[in-house]
């Protein structure tokens, strides 16, 4: 990463809490992340690790019981968390848009897809309806849907086509950043690959940055530039995709990578990660991963590791005592 470039989005020390009757669960815990223009950053981790909560926080979409309790989110130099409701409305979608987890169900079933695209344009720009319709047709064409389908209702489209429509809606205002929260989880692999190829063609044309959230490290390894691994609300490892895949440092990353049987490669019994995900209402004093870690030591039980930049091999950031001490993992 060249130091001169200004990050598009800069998240610093972000904390998001869920306020419950049993106490506060910190779903995102002091996370730092920069996204540069045109870059694809992946966020991986198991369910409940805070990756979707972090994505919601970027668009400041949180409602009670979720509360952003600390940190800053700077988008092109402006703090999202201090914007007025009207400024926020303008920011959302025209600067940063989202493709949600169940994208298949995020379309309104009783409105045609053309109208849904036109609505988005008219909500943000003062142009005529015919002009907006032209934009909608052009956008649908870009994602590979023929203009004749503009009067179709969502149920008349296949899952893959609905996903393309959702991507078209996310891109129609030409945002600088698109946040994709498990965009292809519900699709089968052949459709998934087609959509990802198309998205990358569009990315080359339009030059947006992607924050890609998924638990599928295989897919992520193929499409992202950098990957952040989250566990129990904390960023435990962050670095260049190739480095993380080839040489994971944090024990959780190592476990996660060995949780996927491969289609080629040797066939052997994999053990994955023992134990269950951490209960955020009952967190230990030291490292959050201690119960499931095979390397756990006294220092891990007592002291929370901070995320530190390693000198070798790349500018990898890892939050683990064992790695900082230089013990070979």
């Amino acid at each position: 990463m060249t130091g001169v470039r200004e990050p598009l989005l800069s998240i610093s020390d972000l904390c998001v809490d869920y306020i419950t009757d049993d106490g506060n669960a910190r779903a995102v815990n002091k996370v730092n992340l920069d996204i540069y223009p045109g870059e694809t950053v992946g966020l991986a981790g198991e369910s409940g690790c805070g990756k979707s909560t972090l994505a919601f926080a970027i668009a400041n979409l949180h409602n009670a019981p979720a509360l952003i309790t600390g940190g800053k989110i700077n988008f092109q130099g402006r703090d999202i968390l201090t914007l007025s409701p009207e400024e926020l409305r303008q920011f959302r979608w025209s600067k940063a848009s989202m493709v949600f987890q169940s994208a298949m169900n995020s379309l309104n079933p009783v409105i045609t897809i053309g109208d849904q695209l036109v609505d988005v344009v008219l909500a943000h720009e003062t142009i005529s309806v015919t002009e907006a319709e032209k934009r909608a047709i052009a956008m649908l064409d870009m994602v590979g849907i023929h203009a004749s389908r503009i009067k179709s209702y969502p149920h008349q489209l296949s899952g893959g086509m609905r996903q393309r429509v959702v991507i078209a809606i996310a891109l129609i205002l030409r945002p600088k950043l698109i946040i994709m929260d498990e965009p292809t989880t519900a699709l089968d692999v052949v459709v998934e690959r087609d959509i990802m190829d198309q998205l990358y063609d569009l990315k080359e044309q339009l030059g947006f940055a992607i924050l890609f959230i998924s638990h599928d490290l295989g897919l992520m390894g193929q499409i992202t530039d950098r990957i952040g691994i989250m566990y129990a609300g904390q960023m435990v490892e962050l670095g260049e995709t190739e480095g993380i895949i080839a040489n994971p440092q944090h024990p959780y990353t190592q476990g996660l990578l060995s949780s996927f049987p491969t289609i080629h490669g040797p066939k052997e019994r994999l053990e994955g990660i023992p134990g269950n995900p951490l209960n955020l209402l009952d967190v230990p004093a030291g490292c959050y991963f201690q119960d499931r870690c095979s390397q756990c030591d006294t220092i891990c039980i007592d002291v929370m590791p901070n995320i530190e930049v390693l000198q070798v091999p790349d500018e990898r950031q890892v939050a683990c005592h064992k790695v900082s001490q230089g013990d070979a993992l």
Binding site: G218, R269, G272
Partner: protein, 340 residues
């Protein structure tokens, strides 16, 4: 390569299986009505001539995209659907025979199912103990009083839910997804079932606990239970199952030994499927196989030809008019394709 006719295929399956415990599916055909018309009712063919067998202590995986008929196979084996044509045999006995009909209890004692969604498959208002007791009372009538409790606790221990006593007192919402799926497996085991039909058992679970469930099922396989493992993830099929069948629009297009099918795929659809699987460490954009962009066909009883013809890169005129016959390309590896 030796060409086999349909008849000899079925014969082979039959002669292989006499004696040992097995589930056999022979030329299964299922039609679903598309409307309620009195005359000229339209049908779709959800399964067309599907044959496979599951032996005790072995797993057979069915792989394919949504709508390819994988779950329909499993549901027909539980007698949730009646086959339009074809024979389903459990230990050599036809489960749909009209004469000495097998009761549902008899069938359920042998074949159990595990579903995709562990959040929906357990009753939220009852404790785990209650949900475990019911299949035990029905299928293990010889157990009385404390024996039921002891048996239940031993099953819960066996699926890795220790301490079993505390787990039994819990309600489903107090358990994690992985633990709930273990309860679902425990319920299937408690009946003494010899065959378990697992319909996408891990796809709704967290990545970090998927392997735990797969390994638990692999251990049960060692103990002599046969599995039908339905999945869209061909990598886990290879990991868990000895044999794999690839389905496309209700047809089994390629099947046989899992390693042979995944390492040396012969059918264009299998090649497309395998090249699309994202894999750790492989860069995007160097996929070797491309399918033609085309809609997946709706198969009807009078449809002709190969179901994959519209998307196949190696398509010929013959593919549109004739169903390819089965070719044995290697030992225990069968393909239904002209372009071999």
């Amino acid at each position: 390569m030796n060409q086999l006719t349909e008849a000899t295929m079925v014969e082979q399956v039959v002669t292989n299986e006499t004696g040992s415990q097995s589930v056999e599916v022979e030329n299964l055909v299922i039609d679903f009505a598309l409307d309620n018309a009195l005359f000229n009712r339209q049908y779709m063919r959800a399964l067309n001539g599907v044959s496979f067998s599951i032996k005790a202590g072995e797993a057979m995986a069915l792989v394919g995209e949504s709508g390819s008929g994988k779950s329909t196979c499993a549901r027909t084996l539980c007698r949730l659907y009646k086959p339009t044509d074809g024979v389903l045999k459990l230990n050599g006995r036809d489960i749909n025979a009209s004469g000495s009909k097998m009761t549902q209890t008899e069938l359920a004692k042998q074949i159990q199912m595990i579903f995709q969604d562990p959040f929906g498959s357990l009753n939220p208002v009852h404790t785990i103990r209650h949900q475990m007791y019911r299949p035990i009372r029905i299928h293990m009538p010889e157990l009385k009083g404390d024996a039921i409790e002891d048996y239940m606790l031993s099953i819960l221990e066996r699926v890795g839910l220790s301490p079993a006593k505390q787990t039994a007192d819990k309600f489903p919402h107090e358990l994690s997804g992985g633990q709930r799926q273990r309860v679902a497996i425990a319920r299937a085991l408690a009946t003494g079932a010899k065959f378990i039909l697992a319909d996408e058992p891990i796809s709704m679970l967290d990545v970090s606990i998927r392997l735990g469930i797969l390994n638990l099922m692999a251990d049960m396989k060692e103990e002599g239970i046969g599995f039908l493992y339905i999945t869209h993830d061909i990598a886990t099929a290879r990991y868990f199952a000895e044999r794999t069948g690839v389905m496309y629009v209700g047809h089994m297009v390629e099947w046989g030994n899992s390693d042979s099918v995944t390492q040396n795929p012969q059918h264009p659809y299998t090649q497309l499927l395998i090249s699309a699987v994202p894999e750790v460490g492989r860069k995007r954009g160097n996929a070797t196989v491309d399918g033609k962009k085309s809609q997946i066909p709706l198969w009807k009883p009078d449809s002709k030809g190969c179901p994959f013809a519209a998307r196949c890169p190696k398509v010929t005129d013959q593919c549109h008019t004739e169903m390819p016959s089965v070719t044995e390309v290697a030992e225990d590896h069968f393909v239904r394709c002209f372009a071999l």
